[in-house]
Symmetry: C2
Subunit: 233 residues, 2 copies
DNA sequence: ATATTCATTATGTATGCACATAAAATTCCT
DNA sequence: AGGAATTTTATGTGCATACATAATGAATAT
């Protein structure tokens, strides 16, 4: 058997992946080191390194200095969800986007929100409730608390013109964030806004963002029954 | 102002990210080309390339040959969900894992499943229903259809010993898959298995996997009310 | 025995150079 | 003018080389 001479990192990656799939190298196995592989494949070590690094990032391999490279035991599949701005999400479906401001007032957020943001009850936040529409139909219900101390410009914003989401994404890059996906029964207010029955199963997406150590905002987006978030694996 | 001489790709990436955050380069802006940046930072173009490639993969930059590199307009945040084997998910929480087989029979899957897998009604699949337990409490309800033609070994498997999930992950690497997240109201059977009220809002995860062109399996995992999937952004 | 030191080794990265390739910009042809 | 061919240019990649660094495992000292 002659070496095929794989001279691009893509080709090397493909070959390695094929061997993993073919079980030439089983999960947990140590695979040959970069120098040997380079020799076998007829390319530079740099090229092999690029390929293996890529496969490691994709979760197929686990690499540690000196310890070598081994096939990942559990193909910890990571699904990468794209979390777009809602407007773009709607327009990508070919629908007209609109949003309606339902409420906007200062207040003390509920405990769950405060603890998520790491704030005490003495700090009043801006509470914004809005509805996102696709071709006039409810697309998502937004419940948001914003720390106006971290985000000075926000208080002066006309939220009937521009959604909070859009402005924040454009103007306040966050350094850290948490995303929580869950299902929740529709509360009376949310149900009314979305036009569904109270208690209906809503797909719910909560996001908390910080700028360095300062909380920016907590949002909960509730989607009408039947909404699905799809991703390739 | 003197150039800081950034001589590692990490440092270059950090500096570029800082400039993006500082709005030196605003979303949509074209940033200097690699050669110029390398000159400015006092390193090789290769190093700048590595840094920019990294930031592009992370979603901060968009690069096109000849067109140059620009700051991503919408920081399309991608959240990477780790989809572990349920057993590990449970044990990671420090709980004892168990599973119970509820049903196992050949049959024709419902239309929704068939169309997802791209199969006609003439192909009988194996239907497996099981419950995953954490410390004896229901953790997730699994509804699965397996194509035993693609996965020959599966039919002979003793599913009371080993969960279908575990075996498939270990033995049938897939080449393509789809993941769908949604919320669904609990059906009577699922409600009973999970010990919740019928109609309760369940977080639901559907996965379809293929090996090349052949479908392997379709699964729906339903988690009890309150279940959350958390990820860092 | 048990800790400590140290050589070994596989991966990680920086660099200079060359060439490949996509796509924008320009020139040329009709 | 309008379209085709060509040049230009920024990114993409491969390679040889060198050195950095982490982790292992062996040798050594306590």
């Amino acid at each position: 058997m002659t070496a095929p001479v794989l001279t691009s990192w893509q080709a090397v990656a493909d070959e390695v992946l094929a061997r993993i799939r073919r079980r030439d190298w089983a999960p947990g196995d140590l695979i040959p080191n970069e120098v040997d592989l380079a020799g076998e494949m007829g390319c530079a070590r740099t090229t092999v390194n690029r390929a293996l690094r890529h496969l490691a990032e994709a979760g197929y391999l686990e690499r540690r200095r000196k310890a070598g490279t081994r096939v990942a035991l559990n193909p910890v599949r990571r699904a990468t969800l794209r979390i777009p701005v809602i407007r773009e999400e709607v327009e990508a479906r070919g629908a007209r986007y609109d949003h309606a401001l339902i409420r906007r007032e200062e207040g003390t957020p509920p405990l769950a929100v405060r603890s998520h943001l790491g704030l005490g009850p003495e700090r009043p936040l801006l509470h914004v409730v809005a509805l996102h529409l696709a071709d006039g139909a409810p697309y998502a219900h937004e419940d948001r608390w914003v720390d106006t101390e971290t985000v000075p410009g926000f208080a002066a914003l006309d939220l009937t013109q521009q959604s909070a989401n859009a402005w924040l994404v454009q103007n306040v890059p966050y350094t850290r964030g948490t995303l929580t996906l869950s299902a929740a029964a529709a509360g009376p207010e949310t149900a009314q806004a979305l036009g569904c029955a109270p208690g209906a199963a809503l797909f719910t997406l909560e996001r908390t963002t910080w700028k360095e150590a300062h909380p920016i905002t907590w949002v909960r987006l509730s989607y009408p029954p039947g909404h699905r978030l799809v991703t390739e694996l």
